[in-house]
Symmetry: C2
């Protein structure tokens, strides 16, 4: 096979996307929008979610098992859509998978926040694990050592997003309870907010309502999609046409799902995050 043939074969491989559950489908949605010709293989570790309350050690172990499954299925690039897993396991994955590009949601989110802020005060909302691990704070300070970062663990938001309670009295009261401490001192109030959990974008409206119109909300799904596209372009791995074919290649624009539990539930709840209906028959049940 010629080098060009080999390149085409690699280009034709799907992009692997990993999340602890269905929240990463918001990232998949952005990835598809940014790269319409690409095929995607999404793995949701629904049997063991949420990662956000687990110890760092367990998050790394589970995330590597899930990523191994995707890598064995011949992806050309791995996107870690789960903030908790990206915060904990990215260095271990990069070491493990050698030349395979591995991109997490944290660095693109931190970069977007640093670009968006005017007063240098950035709030990060995440799960317990993401906040405890401090990866966002480190990533933001690496880009802007003068930034003031407030990280807030908002576990209840995950349950609200999964229940579909994204507006109304419960969501408003929860947002007020988590965020009002940020508003106590006007001179310290952040002007930029990172939604550091894939479940939180569906709550953006109630969060913005508490913080007022001035706050910029950074959605790391979009900035991650842009970063993935740039990385693939750089490596000559971006698929520019859904009809480009090669030996052993999958057709472009394909979407496949793997879940470790609850195929029906994955399809039902996942549709809300992906923004389109998921057929349960398109979801393969796997064991990690």
């Amino acid at each position: 096979m010629s080098a060009a043939g080999t390149d085409a074969a690699v280009r034709a491989r799907p992009i692997g996307v990993f999340d602890s559950g269905v929240g990463g489908l918001t990232v998949l949605r952005a990835l598809r929008a940014a790269m319409p010709a690409e095929s995607f293989l999404y793995l949701g570790d629904t049997a063991r979610l949420p990662y956000g309350t687990k110890s760092n050690h367990t998050v790394v172990r589970y995330a590597i098992q899930a990523a191994d499954e995707l890598v064995e299925r011949d992806i050309k690039c791995l996107v870690v859509a789960c903030n908790t897993a990206a915060g904990a396991a990215l260095p271990a994955m990069r070491e493990r998978y050698g030349s395979l590009p591995v991109i997490g949601v944290i660095e693109p989110g931190a970069r977007a926040a640093c670009e968006a802020t005017r007063n240098g005060r950035i709030a990060v909302l995440g799960t317990d694990s993401t906040v405890r691990g401090g990866a966002y704070t480190r990533a933001i300070l690496a880009l802007n050592p003068q930034a003031q970062v407030s990280a807030i663990a908002c576990s209840v938001f995950v349950a609200l997003a999964e229940e579909g309670w994204t507006e109304g009295a419960v969501a408003a009261a929860a947002a007020a309870r988590y965020l009002q401490p940020l508003l106590k001192d006007a001179a310290a109030t952040p002007d930029t907010l990172v939604l550091g959990c894939t479940h939180f974008p569906v709550l953006a409206a109630v969060i913005a309502a508490v913080l007022g119109g001035g706050v910029r909300i950074v959605d790391s799904a979009l900035t991650t999609a842009i970063a993935v596209r740039a990385e693939l372009e750089r490596g000559g791995l971006l698929r520019t046409s859904a009809t480009e074919t090669a030996v052993g290649a999958v057709a472009g624009n394909e979407l496949k799902f793997l879940a470790t539990d609850g195929v029906e539930r994955f399809a039902a709840i996942g549709g809300r995050f992906l923004g389109q209906t998921i057929d349960p028959a398109a979801v393969e049940l796997i064991d990690l």
Copy 2:
């Protein structure tokens, strides 16, 4: 060894208590109150919680792995404190462990509800899995075929209990949203409510506030403790003195904890459910 000696040795063994996480500590608290001389070995499968959103198949698999661990450590009786696991896995456990008494929280809770109700209308609040599985409804109807059972899945309550938001605006709004459908038709409103998840007793006050003073709230922790005591008495296995000793026996009144993840978090959050401080050093990290 004489038969009496053997009996004493069995009596001196700990009671095993299993839950998906820390919620079952409310059951442990009731068990200790009902049987002050007994020793207990509690296992919380914190790495894989919550069970309440998993499929029946996965709940059974995980619950059996956890129960095996307790049985290997020589318990004299197994209490399944997790409503989801009790609803799904009790028959499989009873078959697997032969003569070992296995007691779940569902049957005692159903019995208490049937004793408490006057109008025969009983509401059960549980996790998604517990409600989907229908074990409470079956257990109640087996005792009282005329009962009218309304089962409501209240997933957000789990997150609120773990966050410690057991009062205030968020809890009140969530309780109203879940329970107000029960109040639409006064002639159909239940007079008895089963808290069918070990996380929910800490929310009893806000739940009662929505339903009004007339509703009887059944706490299956207490009724389970009474059922376990009766079962041990029946089998001659009740330890009547903490100082009764036998070859290979553990001292009475001992409390040990096993957790599959996050020993620090288990101790910190668990104390709230057990009603007393848990020393992280008393929690052993295990892998299932």
